[in-house]
């Protein structure tokens, strides 16, 4: 019985995960293809180890600069947004104040604002602050997140009563309670929302495109787009290669982060 259910579980995993990564594998092997055999089927499924395309793609742009910019922007954004959102979520969960539900609804509302519609007004604001072509313009508007507040509040609310009451017994201040009791107990949530915020910032395209003008401030998505789509066509092998070395470092980062989550799950040991 147990082995059967194990088989079913692995079966589901292998099918779903297999279907998920198959296109990626295919593109990876394409990126290693010589041009003659690119996009042949099924020949394209077996890579031939031609790293020339990667080399060619690498030489085309200041990737390290783009990469460094993206890292700086995304990490700063995540740290700031986690800080402001944790504070806010705490106030929405544990502090009693008038109008709390209304303000929270407003915060939820910011998640629903279609960014394309506020692009031009936001650009006007950024310009008033003199932030055109800066890192600041790419960080500060995302230094708080309705999603993060919503998500963290969700977790704070479901903390077991014992943990909530612990503070009253200890007579801890709200500030100490937040940092010593709440935050350690929602590490998994913080890591999850951190990954989300990181990728949101990492994948941002339209906004950095509009507010930046020089390569020394542009993130990798803008740099990448210049090669994925030119005005007259697409160079597939370069797309695949560039996508490869843009994806890989983030994937490694994720692997580390998700280990954190797993560890956090194991360590916090929420008891019912």
């Amino acid at each position: 019985m147990r082995t059967l259910s194990q088989t079913v579980k692995y079966g589901i995993l292998i099918i779903v995960v297999g279907l998920t990564i198959f296109p990626i594998w295919w593109i990876f092997s394409t990126s290693l293809e010589t041009l003659q055999s690119a996009f042949q089927f099924p020949a394209g499924l077996i890579p031939h180890g031609d790293w020339q395309n990667y080399l060619a793609a690498w030489k085309l742009a200041p990737w390290l600069r783009f990469f460094g910019n993206s890292m700086l922007i995304s990490i700063t954004t995540v740290l700031l947004a986690l800080f402001t959102s944790t504070l806010a979520a705490f106030a929405f969960t544990f502090l009693a104040w008038r109008g709390r539900e209304w303000v929270f609804a407003g915060v939820l509302g910011t998640m629903m604002v279609p960014f394309e519609a506020i692009l031009v007004p936001d650009y006007l604001i950024i310009r008033q602050f003199g932030w055109i072509n800066t890192y600041t313009a790419q960080i500060i508007p995302f230094a708080a997140s309705g999603f993060a507040i919503f998500f963290l509040r969700q977790f704070m609310r479901s903390l077991p009563v014992e943990i909530r009451d612990a503070a009253h017994i200890d007579g801890a201040s709200d500030w100490g309670y937040l940092w010593h009791i709440v935050v350690p107990n929602i590490r998994a949530a913080l890591a999850t929302v951190g990954i989300y915020l990181f990728l949101l910032s990492w994948n941002a395209f339209l906004w950095p495109l509009v507010v930046t003008t020089t390569a020394n401030r542009q993130p990798i998505q803008v740099g990448l787009a210049n090669f994925v789509q030119t005005a007259n066509g697409t160079d597939w092998t370069v797309v695949a290669a560039a996508a490869g070395f843009v994806t890989l470092p983030v994937l490694v980062l994720y692997f580390v982060a998700q280990k954190q989550i797993t560890d956090a799950i194991a360590r916090t040991g929420l008891k019912g």
């Binding site: 031009v120 495109l209 003008t213 030119t230 005005a231």
Partner: protein, 438 residues
């Protein structure tokens, strides 16, 4: 505290900007007294979409220009394509923060002009640093006319343009016993039918832009814009040119001689031999060569003709923004003059591997290059029949949405070509009522 003050002053400034915006954006009138010579150091920004393989060429142009004008610094700002340049330019103009000079397509410029965001280049052309009549006549007229508005003002000058031609798989043509690319619609239709065997569909239709359709439409004798800038009803008539061109395409799709693809995937279909004829400007040539990767010989030919020989001209022009200081405007004009000079345009055409020179005198300097690059030679030969892109205010939505929807509707059998074009006319009339002409 400091932050609060900044925030507050920012918010107040915002209200100011907001009201300014509402009062009418970018009302800056072109500076009346432009300096006639460049003295001090000037920095200008140049926005364009010449990324990837084109970027080194733009850099080479700028370097060459810097040598001639050491006191001018050109900052090159590149974005990937129209879809990226449009929002960027739009936001910048609305905020009153445009570049000095930018690449743009004529239909966008119509909007910029009516808000006085662009400087009329005619002033510079006639000015002391202008162009002589001989120089002006050295431009290919079809290209230059694309940058001229109905009131006779030249707002844009041509930079990266190309004409639509046919690319075909010469190897497959020869295998099917077809020695020459067809020169008429009938021949085109029959040959495509003959070539479409074993699940292969000869003609790959892609509608990233509408110009591939426009080329056929022009050949059927059509023009969508009437003399006053209004939509031309006759063009949409059941026996009119649009229906005629669309019927040809629909018949080809129905008989499996054509396939509707999306994006630039058509390049790959052509490259791996799934389709054998691709209609594109010569600028696509390097991408097609790469896709074909030497597996077959690529042939190029002018468009097969119908009532007339015609083709569509497509690409980017240069315009200078009125927000720039007089010195910047003059420096930008010098830069524009350089890019479109014989020297500049030869450099551009030869190294971009697909765009056409904008000057007739360039052709003589490019003979050996052109003999090695047949796509550009073919496009250059077709230039006398080429029509520049139209530019009334309603054109953007018409050519990108209304017309493409009509083509899709017919090709996907949702409507007959006549019904699709009738509907398109209703829609374009409505759009014109909303946005106006020029």
């Amino acid at each position: 505290m400091h932050t609060t003050t900044r925030t507050l002053s920012g918010a107040m400034a915002l209200v100011a900007v907001g009201s300014l915006l509402l009062a009418g954006c970018g009302q800056a009138t072109p500076k009346a007294s432009a300096p006639t010579s460049l003295k001090g150091p000037v920095t200008i920004t140049f926005w364009n979409e010449m990324t990837g393989p084109y970027q080194p060429v733009v850099t080479a142009e700028i370097n060459a220009f810097h040598k001639l004008h050491p006191n001018v610094t050109v900052q090159d700002v590149v974005v990937s394509n129209d879809a990226a340049l449009r929002p960027k330019l739009f936001s910048a103009i609305v905020a009153g923060d445009p570049p000095t000079v930018s690449e743009m397509n004529p239909p966008w410029a119509t909007g910029f002009i009516s808000s006085h965001a662009l400087v009329p280049l005619s002033t510079f052309i006639r000015g002391p640093q202008g162009l002589s009549s001989a120089q002006l006549h050295d431009f290919y007229p079809s290209m230059l006319n694309g940058g001229k508005w109905p009131d006779g003002t030249q707002y844009l000058v041509p930079f990266n343009l190309s004409a639509n031609i046919m690319f075909y798989n010469k190897t497959a043509f020869q295998a099917a016993g077809i020695t020459h690319f067809p020169t008429t619609w009938t021949g085109f239709y029959n040959d495509a039918l003959k070539l479409s065997t074993n699940g292969r569909k000869a003609f790959a239709i892609t509608l990233v832009h509408s110009y591939p359709f426009l080329a056929f439409f022009y050949e059927a004798g059509g023009h969508f814009v009437g003399p006053k800038g209004q939509p031309n009803a006759a063009a949409f008539a059941p026996n009119g040119p649009a229906v005629k061109a669309l019927t040809l395409w629909t018949n080809m799709v129905d008989h499996n001689a054509a396939v509707l693809t999306s994006g630039y995937a058509s390049d790959t279909l052509f490259g791996n031999g799934s389709s054998l004829i691709l209609e594109a400007t010569s600028a696509a040539s390097p991408y097609l060569k790469q896709a074909a990767a030497g597996r077959f010989t690529i042939g190029t030919a002018p468009m097969p003709s119908d009532l007339t020989s015609a083709t569509a001209l497509f690409g980017g022009y240069l315009g200078i923004f009125s927000k720039a200081t007089p010195a910047q405007q003059l420096a930008a004009w010098e830069f524009v003059k350089f890019l479109t000079s014989t020297q500049g345009t030869v450099l551009w055409a030869e190294h971009s591997q697909g765009y056409l020179p904008v000057r007739k005198s360039a052709k003589d300097l490019m003979t050996s290059y052109l003999s090695a690059h047949p796509a550009q030679a073919t496009a250059l030969a077709a230039l006398s029949d080429a029509k520049p892109e139209d530019k009334p205010a309603w054109w953007s939505q018409f050519s990108n949405q209304i017309l493409i929807n009509a083509i899709d509707a017919a090709l996907l059998h949702k409507m007959s070509p006549a019904a699709a074009m009738h509907q398109a006319y209703q829609q374009v009339i409505q759009e014109q009522a909303q946005t106006g002409d020029y």
